[in-house]
């Protein structure tokens, strides 16, 4: 039998053709390879969350290979001498085993925990970027809502995750969680009994949290992250205003080769950051906490940072108890249940609230510089201040201790700060925005300050301004319209921001454009979005 000759060089083409015959992949694949992404550092913040999530999946799978989600009491006989002989749950025992008797196990555990903190941190930072630049406006409202649900899911993923080792600190957190459930009017006791399988702590909760932590919540996260990304793909990324950039185009780099390569490099940088954190900084030393006992507690008992705002609100809540006949609503209910619910629902509605207030129903693909919408920045500053004061109050005992401040004073400072801080920051943020706007307009009207002082014949001193645009017959600059983008404020920035339009792909027929000043209208400014300045 004659052997068929295999031409290796033809193999890729053959396989590709075969694939396309079955899936008609050629056209969509080309569209994907060619897709254009805008390039700005702030667009990479969300990627940190995505990459952290991938690291979480990878390290998490490793951890499950060693973790035993059981609350059966065992006596520890492992490598860590300070707990030998102590009665503990199998979950805690296996966490210690994983930390001390699995090669590299502690490193993996710490990577997982740091990646979780980084995941939540980047979500918050990414969300702030979206908010302050108005990226959530039509048509992207739904993706904003998905983002908030992702934060909420991450919140619960984190809480269930750090409860799993069943150590002294996380057990305290579980007890508070049960108290929060108990505080809900009418159904509280039933809810707590359903979750814990009877009275706290029972024997089931670690197993239930385990399945939630490794299957249900990650499943939800995975599904929503997929939709989140698919929507970014479908709706195309927003971009900053600037030369050539309009509401109907995307200016940037094609996905391949450059953009994808950058993403790959950034993933490695994220992975490297998590590895460095996990190696250098000890996190959650469960061996010091001992097994959970209802009678043991430590000073400075706090949840992880993304739950701390809730703990802070609980700490600041005055002890107002409401009695309704023979029944009562404990003060814990308001910050922990009503507060949490409000803090997640209100931001979800925000895109529609803003659109309703401004009457703006247009599609926005160009971002707004924060200063161009002082109202929004003010609201955002309010929300962030509230979050920050609540989070700091979640650690107020540590701050009180380490900075020698009275604990009671810290609580009162938090209570007052929660009321006074947000409006103050609103006012401040609005003033700063208006000031920045004003300065932009001045530079556009009069030019850049050169620092050169000239004396006029009448003895008057004036500063020479370098106009950014053309001048009239008397040498006075003609006022330039504001383009929604950075205005050069220093002499050495003039021209530095204008990308030259050149290169051998540019049609020769078209006359070469003069270097575009940022203040100038864009080259293809047909559907230029109107920038509404001020309030």
């Amino acid at each position: 039998m004659k052997r068929r000759k295999v031409d290796l060089a033809q193999a890729p083409a053959t396989i590709a053709r075969g694939t396309d015959e079955r899936f008609q992949a050629a056209t969509p694949l080309r569209a994907l390879l060619n897709k254009v992404f805008p390039d700005h550092w702030s667009f990479l913040l969300g990627e940190i969350a995505l990459f952290s999530f991938i690291i979480l999946l990878l390290t998490g799978v490793f951890l499950t290979l060693f973790f035993d989600p059981s609350m059966k009491e065992v006596a520890y006989e492992g490598a860590y001498p300070a707990l030998r002989g102590t009665e503990m749950s199998a979950a805690y025992e296996s966490s210690l085993h994983l930390s001390f008797e699995v090669r590299g196990g502690l490193f993996m555990r710490q990577m997982h925990h740091w990646a979780a903190l980084l995941f939540m941190a980047s979500i918050v930072v990414h969300m702030a970027r979206i908010f302050f630049t108005g990226a959530y406006r039509k048509p992207r409202e739904v993706n904003w809502v998905i983002g908030i649900i992702l934060f909420l899911l991450g919140f619960f993923a984190g809480f269930t995750g750090y409860s799993l080792p069943d150590d002294g600190l996380s057990g305290t957190g579980l007890r508070i969680a049960s108290a929060i459930m108990l505080s809900i009017p009418v159904v509280g006791t039933w809810l707590s009994a359903a979750v814990f399988g009877g009275e706290f702590p029972g024997h089931l909760i670690i197993g239930r949290f385990y399945i939630a932590h490794v299957l249900l919540i990650p499943g939800g996260l995975l599904a929503l992250i997929s939709i989140h990304l698919a929507l970014v793909f479908k709706q195309k990324h927003t971009q900053w205003p600037g030369p050539m950039r309009t509401n109907t185009n995307v200016v940037g780099e094609r996905m391949f080769p450059r953009y994808a390569l950058k993403q790959g490099g950034f993933f490695m940088a994220c992975f490297g950051t998590v590895a460095l954190l996990a190696g250098l900084f000890q996190i959650n030393p469960i061996w010091l906490f001992g097994p959970y006992r209802a009678s043991e507690v430590s000073s400075a008992s706090q949840p992880d940072w993304y739950v701390m705002f809730m703990d802070g609100l609980v700490r600041l809540m005055p002890n107002w108890q409401i009695y309704i006949g023979d029944y009562s609503i404990p003060p814990l209910f308001w910050p922990a249940v009503v507060g949490l619910g409000t803090l997640f629902t209100l931001p979800m509605l925000w895109p529609w609230l803003e659109a309703r207030k401004s009457g703006d129903k247009r599609i926005h693909n160009l971002l707004e510089r924060p200063r161009d919408n002082p109202e929004r920045v003010g609201i955002g500053a309010m929300a962030l201040t509230f979050f920050l004061v609540a989070t700091i109050s979640g650690a107020n005992d540590v701050i009180a201790d380490k900075f020698h401040i009275s604990l009671n004073a810290m609580t009162w400072a938090g209570r007052l700060g929660l009321i006074i801080g947000p409006p103050l920051m609103y006012w401040l943020a609005v003033r700063v925005c208006l000031g920045l706007q004003q300065h932009d307009r001045e530079v556009l009207a009069h030019g850049v300050e050169t620092g050169i002082i000239r004396r006029l014949p009448n003895g008057q001193f004036v500063e020479v301004h370098q106009p950014l645009g053309p001048v009239d017959d008397h040498g006075h600059p003609e006022p330039l319209p504001y383009g929604g983008w950075v205005v050069p404020k220093k002499m050495n920035r003039v021209g530095a921001l204008a990308p030259a339009i050149k290169g051998f792909f540019y049609p020769v027929e078209k006359p070469a454009e003069a270097p575009v000043s940022p203040g100038m209208p864009p080259v293809s400014g047909d559907e230029r979005e109107e920038i509404t300045s001020g309030r």
Binding site: W41, A82, L106, A269, L288, P303, H404
Partner: protein, 282 residues
Amino acid sequence: MTSDTPARRRLRVFSRRRKAPSRARRRLGAAVRMLAALALAGGVYTAFAPGAFAEDDRQLSATAQEGKQLFDNSCITCHGKDAQGVDDRGPSLIGVGAASVEFQVGTGRMPMVRQEAQAEQKKPQFDKTQTKQLAQYIQELGGGPQIPEGELTESLESNPEALARGGELFRVNCTSCHGFGGGGGALSSGKYAPSLHDATPEQIYAAMLTGPQNMPVFGDNQLTPEQKREIITYITMQLQEDKDPGGLFNLGRYGPSTEGMAVFLVGITLLVFTALWIAGKS
């Protein structure tokens, strides 16, 4: 945390200013402190003194004589002649025992600089011998608890379970104030439980025995000397020796608050700078 750097002093000044915003508050504070001092005086006195006042002509050993000299120079203003105590200033020291003196003077808490929520730990004013002399004097005046002679830690060779048992006792009795990592913690209204990271076995033993400041007393009837030694073994071997296998930095073992700060200050900062570089003009 209690080292006396200029920054700390400034901080303390700052925190004091925040604590006492008005004259009324200050007066109230003074009254509370006075009450506390009175309560301490009465309490300690009734607790330990079997009703016998020290007598002047009492025979003092040579060491105690030295101690009396020191006492009459440095302590008598507040604690009075023959340590009988002075109203509004300082409690009687009859019956507090040598252990109490060694703790209070040995950690620099006494002599106090001023009356405040809690005596601050600072550089001791007396060296070891002088402290012993003072302790001997107070001991001979009215008796009271003493730090036993000999090793205050358990040897793991002869008692291999000491570490684990000490850990368990530590978590039951100590962590609620001093924290899982022994870093200390806040109490109400400016009081605090100090860090244990540079406490010596003698100081820890004395503190358990005498219950200084707001710390409860753990007498020998409650925690046997062996149990005390086990706790000290756990503190010195496990907590003080920086046993942090999880990294070069333990973030003060303050738990999630410093971990949360680290993820922003290190993680997010590092990655934001990377992102700036990626998107920056080359």
